[in-house]
């Protein structure tokens, strides 16, 4: 990713900027605002929610926040990088299964085997590929690294050969389909359709205990904030600018001497790691991971939340994802059929008529400059993106 930057012809004439602002890094007021935003979010997640919500609701919120973590990654890969990934469920699943395998083995005790293996697989001993997951030193890093490795593998093959746009979306979706079919097919070692269920312990803590469930919630909330901070840094770095440039004009970026494939690969791999972490934390929060949670439909549902919230903003995907999963569980209990119509309609209306998502409504309401391409501007929710734009304008 080294740039071949030819020296501008007029360097001698134009003096260097007095106070060089690193490209993309918002300064001053905007940074303050972001810090305030984070503090507000942290207070909401760590103080208000646990006080206001019942244990049951808090556990639900923990589940939604896991989906939000996936959404942060999709926001980077899709919103910033233009890679519509319809297979984030795969990475969510890899993280989830890695964690669940470890917890299952820990539940079973040393030398023990998960119960379902004798039931479906008639296995006498642990399959070879399960064994490393007995060690937390392998399993925990694997929840994040495994998805990243898979994303790196597919991404480097696909992006180097300039497979993109719809081709990439379809391939990522096919990956989700293949993974689900594989998991279901290998019932003896993966639990098949049921997945890995009935997870009781979490590193020595009993998950049935509400106190420990709260602990899991706090871990998840902390992880989400950390991912948001990471995403913000990434977006406002030089790399973030480059990623947007690749989205908007891949060929031009190539002509400038960058390698778009590497740029895209980084975003895709980061998004995969985030989804993996989300999957890993989803398991102790919900106690199950199964193919139904990671297949094509859930993979697209991740994308729905991001689209509804605002794909190119930082907070939009998070709020959108939480809103959509919350709405689903609230509405589908009472009106199971109607919710499906609503979900479809929401998706159609938002994507077709409001491509910037609900975040752009905010910007519209505040009469910000939402132009012909609303996804390029996000208003308040983008947390200082406008400032970042301005730094690119050369001093006249």
């Amino acid at each position: 990713m080294t740039a071949v930057t030819p020296a501008p012809p007029d360097t001698a004439v134009r003096p260097a900027p007095v106070d060089p602002v690193p490209p993309g890094r918002p300064a001053g007021r905007s940074r303050l605002r972001t810090a305030a935003g984070f503090a507000f979010g942290a207070a909401l997640l760590f103080a208000v929610a646990p006080l206001v919500l019942s244990d049951f609701r808090l556990a639900l919120l923990a589940k939604y926040l896991c989906v939000a973590m996936v959404a942060v990654g999709i926001g980077i890969a899709w919103g910033r990088g233009g890679m519509l990934t319809l297979g984030q469920g795969v990475f969510f699943g890899l993280g989830g299964y890695a964690m669940a395998m470890h917890l299952k083995l820990a539940d079973a005790g040393p030398g023990g085997m998960p119960d379902f293996m004798q039931l479906y697989g008639q296995l006498d001993e642990l399959p070879l590929w399960w064994r490393p997951f007995a060690s937390p030193w392998f399993a925990l890093p694997a929840t994040v690294l495994l998805p990243m490795v898979v994303a790196f593998g597919l991404g480097s093959l696909v992006f180097r050969r300039r497979v993109r746009g719809a081709y990439f979306a379809i391939l990522s979706q096919a990956l989700a389909a293949a993974m689900v079919i594989l998991l279901i097919g290998q019932q003896g070692t993966t639990g098949g359709t049921n997945g890995l269920t009935d997870i009781k312990g979490f590193f020595g803590y009993n998950l049935d205990d509400p106190v420990n469930q709260r602990m899991v919630y706090f871990i998840i909330a902390g992880a989400l904030l950390a991912l948001l901070a990471l995403a913000r840094q990434l977006i406002h770095s030089r790399y973030g600018e480059l990623l947007v440039a690749v989205r908007d004009g891949e060929e031009r970026v190539r002509f400038l001497g960058y390698d778009p494939a590497s740029v895209k690969l980084v975003a895709y791999v980061v998004a995969a790691g985030m989804a993996g972490l989300a999957g890993a934390l989803f398991v102790p929060a919900v106690g199950i991971i199964s193919p139904a949670l990671i297949g094509i439909v859930p993979s697209i549902e991740f994308v729905i939340g991001v689209a509804v919230g605002g794909r190119a903003t930082l907070l939009g995907p998070v709020l959108g994802a939480v809103a959509v999963v919350w709405a689903r569980s609230a509405l589908s209990e009472r009106f199971p059929g109607t919710w499906t119509y609503l979900q479809g309609l929401l998706f159609v209306v938002v994507v077709a008529f409001l491509p910037g998502g609900l975040a752009s409504l905010w910007a519209l309401a505040r009469r910000r400059d939402v132009g012909a391409r609303p996804e390029r501007r996000g208003g308040w929710l983008s947390l200082g993106r406008r400032r970042a734009d301005r730094t690119e304008v050369p001093a006249a």
């Binding site: 719809a166 379809i170 391939l171 096919a174 990956l175 097919g185 094509i296 059929g337 998706f347 077709a352």
Partner: protein, 295 residues
């Protein structure tokens, strides 16, 4: 040897179903760059059309014969509606067509659930299509599979002839090759788009009729097929019917062989790996339209 031929034919018949579905997609994807996720639901519409017709027409053979044109028109009309109401607003954003049509497909699935109920329904196959053809060498081929193969090949032949020989076909090819030039040459491209969408969606309806011969009809029957069909289009190359034809059969045979040698689930993974490997070799698909565009 018998086993080999048996597997080969299984593969070909999987390929025939894929081909029927992929033809319509290749048409719309190739011409308009529209990724229609609701294509699977047009298949479902074709299948339910067959089911409804069978309620009123006695004689499975007659109802099947009636179902073919009716399903074509039903699915085609749905496609035109979709194009007019939504897709034409999204031509500049191909990825978004994928998302929008997925929302539509969600709604159509629920609609099917509300009308026909969630459980799968079944149609009766005509007696003519229930038996097997015995070939020399102890080989048997199921009649329904043979029928689907014939239907797929007929669809390819009809589409090829229509594209080659009719004025409409000429206009479609012109739009595929260079939309702007076609437009300034006096071709009403939006009308051509609508007609193409009618044809492509109608083909999905035909595929739906064919699928009633193979298994139950349900609200989600399209979802899984559509991904395989998209892979066919991607690997075959955009805007090229012959690519879809070759790749559909190749993937079918690969799937059947993989299934025979390993298991169904491993075969799916093999197919996926093969596709990614293939795209390393030819990222733009088997056949491509030669253009000077940089994108």
């Amino acid at each position: 040897m018998t086993v080999l031929f048996g597997q080969l034919f299984t593969g070909i018949s999987i390929g025939a179903v894929l081909l029927l579905i992929a033809l319509g997609l290749a048409l719309t994807f190739g011409q308009m760059n529209v990724i229609n996720m609701a294509h699977g639901e047009f298949i479902m519409a074709g299948a339910y059309t067959t089911y409804v017709l069978q309620q009123s027409i006695t004689g499975a053979g007659l109802s099947l014969a009636v179902a073919l044109p009716v399903a074509f028109v039903v699915a085609g009309t749905m496609g035109v509606l979709l194009e007019v109401l939504l897709i034409r607003r999204l031509y500049a954003r191909p990825l978004d067509t994928l998302l929008v049509t997925w929302g539509v497909s969600l709604m159509l699935q629920q609609l099917a659930r509300d009308i026909f109920g969630s459980p799968n329904v079944q149609t009766r196959a005509p007696e003519l299509l229930t038996g097997n053809v015995a070939l020399p060498g102890g080989l048997t081929i199921a009649n329904n599979r043979l029928f689907i193969l014939a239907l797929a090949l007929a669809a390819v032949a009809a589409l090829t002839l229509a594209l080659r020989l009719t004025p409409l076909g000429r206009r479609i090819r012109a739009v595929v090759q260079n939309r702007d030039l076609a437009a300034v040459s006096g071709i009403a491209t939006s009308r051509v788009d609508r007609t193409t969408f009618f044809l492509g969606s109608g083909l999905a309806g035909l595929a739906g009729v064919a699928l009633t011969l193979l298994g139950p009809i349900g609200p989600t029957m399209g979802t899984n097929l559509i991904i395989d069909a998209f892979l066919v289009v991607v690997v075959g190359g955009i805007g090229q019917l012959k690519g879809s034809v070759i790749v559909a059969f190749a993937l079918g045979v690969l799937q059947a062989t993989g299934e025979y040698l390993t298991t169904l689930s491993v075969a799916k993974v093999i197919v996926f790996v093969a596709i990614v490997a293939f795209l390393q070799w030819r990222p733009q698909g088997l056949f491509t339209l030669r253009t000077r565009s940089l994108a």
